[in-house]
C-alpha cells in the first residue's frame, strides 16, 4: 500500500516537473502564449548594429540592432546601448523576418499617450531588399523622407534588408503633428506597402 503511494506521488511529481521544466526551458512552445516568447539573451555574433539615432536637442543617441536568436527569431531592437535585453522593438520568425510584407516597422516613444507629453518618438525598421525609398506620412498629410541603409544583414536575417532609423522631429510633435503611416516605394516610385502606425 505504502509502495503504491510512493509510486503515485513519484509519477505525479515527474509529470508536473517535466511539464513545468519544459515550459520554463521553452521546449513546449505554443504560438501566442508566453512559452513562444523569443530568447533574446545576447550571444557573440548574434547581434549587430544596423542603424542609429543621433543625439539631438537633449535626446541621447541610440542604436538599432538586429538579432538572430537561438530559437529561430529575427528581432530588431531600438536600444540605448546596443544590448537586445535593453531594447524596445519586436521579433518575427527567421523564415520570414518581414512577416510576408515589404517592411517591418516599430514606432517607439516615451511619454504620452497625449501627444503633447511625448518627448521622444522614433521609427526603426527593415525594408525589403527591392525597396528603393520610404516615406513617413504625418497627421497633417505631409510626408517626411526616411533614409534607408545598405548595411549587410544577410548573415543574421538571411537577406540584405534595408534597415532604417528615423527620429520624429520635436517641432512636429510640438505642433500636434504625429506619424500615421510608413510607405515603402519601388524604384519606379510606386507604393509597394503601407504600415499604419500612431501615438496613443
Amino acid at each position: 500500500m505504502r509502495r503504491k503511494r510512493v509510486v503515485i506521488v513519484a509519477g505525479a511529481v515527474t509529470i508536473a516537473g517535466l511539464a513545468l521544466g519544459g515550459i520554463a526551458s521553452g521546449l513546449h512552445r505554443t504560438a501566442g502564449t508566453p512559452s513562444a516568447a523569443p530568447d533574446i539573451r545576447s550571444r557573440p555574433g548574434t547581434v549587430e548594429q544596423v542603424a542609429q539615432f543621433t543625439s539631438e536637442n537633449g535626446r541621447p543617441g541610440r542604436q538599432v540592432v538586429l538579432q538572430r536568436t537561438d530559437d529561430g527569431y529575427v528581432c530588431l531592437w531600438d536600444t540605448p546601448d546596443g544590448a537586445a535585453e535593453h531594447g524596445v522593438g519586436g521579433c518575427n520568425p527567421a523564415a520570414d523576418p518581414l512577416g510576408g510584407r515589404k517592411l517591418l516597422v516599430s514606432l517607439a516613444y516615451d511619454g504620452g499617450p497625449a501627444l503633447s507629453t511625448v518627448h521622444d518618438a522614433r521609427l526603426s525598421g527593415l525594408a525589403a531588399p527591392d525597396v528603393a525609398a520610404a516615406r513617413l506620412v504625418m497627421t497633417d498629410g505631409t510626408t517626411r523622407s526616411i533614409a534607408l541603409s545598405r548595411v549587410a544583414t544577410r548573415a543574421l536575417a538571411g537577406k540584405d534588408y534595408r534597415p532604417f532609423a528615423y527620429r520624429v522631429r520635436q517641432s512636429d510633435l510640438g505642433k500636434g503633428i504625429a506619424p500615421v503611416a510608413v510607405l515603402v516605394l519601388d524604384a519606379d516610385g510606386r507604393v509597394v506597402d503601407r504600415q499604419v502606425t500612431g501615438i496613443g
Binding site: 509502495r3 510512493v6 509510486v7 506521488v9 513519484a10 511529481v13 515527474t14 508536473a16 516537473g17 517535466l18 513545468l20 521544466g21 515550459i23 520554463a24 526551458s25 505554443t30 504560438a31 501566442g32 502564449t33 508566453p34 513562444a36 516568447a37 523569443p38 533574446i40 527569431y73 528581432c75 530588431l76 531600438d78 535585453e85 535593453h86 531594447g87 524596445v88 522593438g89 519586436g90 521579433c91 518575427n92 520568425p93 520570414d96 518581414l98 512577416g99 510576408g100 510584407r101 517591418l104 516597422v105 516599430s106 514606432l107 517607439a108 516613444y109 516615451d110 511619454g111 504620452g112 499617450p113 507629453t117 504600415q195 499604419v196 502606425t197 500612431g198
Partner: protein, 117 residues
C-alpha cells in the same frame, strides 16, 4: 528499487523547483486568448516590472502596442507599436507601474500579454 525511485523523485522535484523559480518573475495578465476584438489589458501594479511583452500567433498583419504606465503621472514609458510577432516594451525604474497592451487593428490572432521583472 525504492531507493532509486526516491532519488529519481528528488531529481524531478529539483527540476520542478527550478521551473517554478524561472516562471515566478512573470505575470501573464491578458490571455492566452483569441483576440477577435480591438481590446486591451492591464497588469497589476508593481515596482519590479521592467519588461512588457505581447506574443502573437501572427506576424505582419496584427497592429498592437505594449507599454509600461507609472502610477503617479500615468505616463507611458518604453512604448512600442508594430505588427511583429513578439513585441517588448522596456523601462527600468523603481516606481510602481503596470503593463498595458492594446490591439489596434488588422487580423485576429491568438496572443498573450505578460510583464516580467
Amino acid at each position: 528499487m525504492r531507493r532509486k525511485l526516491v532519488a529519481f523523485t528528488a531529481a524531478v522535484a529539483g527540476v520542478l523547483v527550478t521551473a517554478v523559480i524561472a516562471l515566478a518573475g512573470t505575470n501573464t495578465y491578458r490571455g492566452p486568448m483569441y483576440w477577435s476584438c480591438f481590446c486591451d489589458g492591464s497588469s497589476p501594479y508593481a515596482s519590479q516590472w521592467i519588461e512588457n511583452w505581447f506574443v502573437k500567433s501572427t506576424s505582419g498583419i496584427s497592429d498592437t502596442m505594449v507599454t509600461l504606465i507609472d502610477n503617479t503621472s500615468y505616463s507611458w514609458h518604453g512604448t512600442v507599436r508594430s505588427t511583429a510577432s513578439a513585441q517588448k516594451a522596456w523601462w527600468v525604474s523603481s516606481v510602481v507601474k503596470k503593463g498595458y497592451c492594446k490591439f489596434y487593428g488588422g487580423t485576429a490572432f491568438n496572443g498573450s500579454c505578460f510583464v516580467a521583472s
